[in-house]
Amino acid sequence: MPGARPGALAWLLLTPLLAWLALFVVLPALLLLGCSLGERDEFGQVLWGFSLENYARLLDPVYLGIFLRSLGFAALTTALCLLIGYPVAYHLARAAPRVRELLLLLVMVPFWTSFLVRTYAWMAILREEGLLNALVAWLQPAWAPLGLLYTPAAVVTGLVYSYLPFLILPVYASVEKLDGALIEAAHDLGAGPWRVFPAVILPLTLPGIAAGVTLVFVPAVAMFAVTDLLGGARVPLLGNVIQNQFLQARDWPFGAALGVALLALFLVSQLGLRALRPRGALRG
């Protein structure tokens, strides 16, 4: 019952979830925070302490730039996913049930193979002597070869490809629940399709959009595998820099400080997103 205070039984049932959160979310976050205040010794081991030096290093223009670039890549990825994914999800949800099941299956099919294998497949498509360049050379030899692999465009392509289903599915769920009567009513009241969409459909599917945007944006900021493989490890984004601190540079405290900053950023953006959502659309 919405609004009712949970009783003792509810708390009991919630205990596993709360324990899980405490053990695997809160505790690691505290460890991260503690580590970020330490230092590394020459062999990469963490010396616990209290120093804000790692945070001071974050303010270096180099790392501020990486933050901005990562947010930019993630925002572009999210925007493209939304642009491509929303119409797909909409038509998916409005299709005849049998067709809908088949189409939904097709959205899920990529998950049957390893994500890394699919990224390598993109490398085979984009590389200089790859499939796409072979097609370009066949169509217009003067244009080939296009330098596609190891570019920012390749990274965004890979990111959009990887995260598109994460946007389609929540939007699909919310379009499916959309009450057709409301749209009919809008039409009856004289609104054309260009009015109905922004005035009725969009607000009602906003929860799905918000969920999809979060599911794409958050992992896209921290992704490192796609940027390493398709970007040639030379377009450093936040995920790569953090991963490098743990495995290459062996500077765990600095990596932890980057992680904490990322966490803080998500917290702020989630609060911002909540504030943006219209009341009443919250439960979606």
Binding site: F43, G44, R127, Y150, G232, V235, Q245, L247, Q248
Partner: protein, 344 residues
């Protein structure tokens, strides 16, 4: 005493946990942590077929990654494959345990030049696995100008046509060589001099890849590389247009070794694996798959003239130098390269 009470669940769990390693030992297991693209699968299969010992093989793509995982204790490794200078640091830090040389019957197969090296003068902790250098690969169909050293590679004309290994110590050492500075005594002053040069160079690189830098060259995505000699040797074998050049300013020669970490559980299995690798016919298999410089003389006799003629595997001449443990400066190098790569 309450005999009615069954065994305490906590103690039962503790007992089972204590028995777990015994079970693993009975079956025979070896947790090998090695470089990617370095240990051929048939060698592992052959070892298991002969000894019944199951090999759990995990890979890394830099000495730093191996150290990070070993020191963090995420996995229990029985055998690691560090480069000589990293092994030197590990010995100093007591991260390796002494070998029982009596159990290694094939030690006599090694070339004398690979015994008693600076990282482990008495050979107490390490056995050479493979050796090699880091040099320049040129696709001579695309690059028509002569390339002799680092400065010839890192030119504006070759922007986005270069692949290099993703290894901080290597990158910094190239700049130091080009500046005529020592690569084994590194201080703030020498790093400050290397910094602007390296910043320029890093901007020209298209791909950083330590796992398989040959791929970008083979696919035609780049025309030049500064890569492991074994990768260069494979390229030359594929197509003679890929020429290997030892940089005139000086080049790094590495010896990658097999060593047993201090916390290893399956020490007997680790010794058996090292001894297996020392066999000429096994070592020969490694050379066939990954044509680095084979330190095993008996194995080298089994190579074909073609394999021995590969200029990347067995270079003639060249100014080669080993890396040494540089202690605290390693951290400064890591930080410098992180800053420069991030600034791209």
């Amino acid at each position: 005493m309450k005999f009615k009470t069954p065994i305490l669940p906590g103690r039962l769990a503790a007992l089972l946990l204590a028995l777990l390693p015994l079970a693993a030992r009975a079956a025979g297991e070896l947790n090998l942590f090695g470089w990617s693209e370095y240990v051929p699968q048939p060698v592992l299969d052959g070892f298991t077929r002969e000894t019944g010992i199951k090999v759990n093989f995990e890979t890394y793509s830099s000495n730093e990654e191996m150290l990070a995982k070993l020191v963090a204790g995420g996995g229990r490794y029985d055998l690691v494959q560090p480069s000589d200078y990293t092994a030197e640091a590990m010995i100093r830090r007591k991260l390796l345990q002494p070998l029982d040389r009596a159990r290694l019957t094939g030690l006599g197969n090694l070339a004398p030049a690979f015994n008693g090296r600076a990282h482990d003068p008495e050979g107490r902790y390490t056995v050479p696995y493979m050796s090699g250098s880091v040099g320049i690969v040129v696709n001579t169909e695309k690059v028509k100008v002569p390339v002799r050293g680092y400065r010839d590679v890192f030119q504006a004309a070759f922007r986005d046509r270069i692949v290099v290994v993703n290894d901080s110590r290597e990158l910094v050492s190239w700049a130091l060589y080009a500046l005529g500075l020592p690569v084994n005594t590194i201080d703030a002053a020498s790093l400050a001099r290397a910094r602007p040069l390296l910043a320029e160079w890093i901007k020209l690189v298209k791909v950083f890849d330590s796992d398989s830098p040959k791929t970008a060259l083979l696919n035609g995505d780049v025309d030049l590389g500064v890569v492991w000699s074994g990768e260069a040797a494979i390229l030359w074998r594929e197509n003679r247009k890929f020429q290997y050049v030892l940089p005139a300013e000086g080049a790094h020669q590495f010896v990658d070794v097999l060593a047993i970490p201090a916390g290893a559980r399956n020490v007997t299995e680790a010794h058996r694996f090292i001894d297996y690798i020392l066999r000429p016919e096994v070592s020969r298999q490694i050379s066939a798959a990954f044509p680095y410089t084979n330190p095993n003389l008996a194995a080298r006799r089994l190579l074909t003239p073609d394999e021995l003629a590969n200029p990347a595997s067995y270079p003639k001449g060249g100014k080669l130098e080993s890396f040494r443990d540089i202690g605290r400066a390693a951290a400064d190098i890591d930080r410098l390269v992180t800053d420069l790569k991030s600034a791209k």
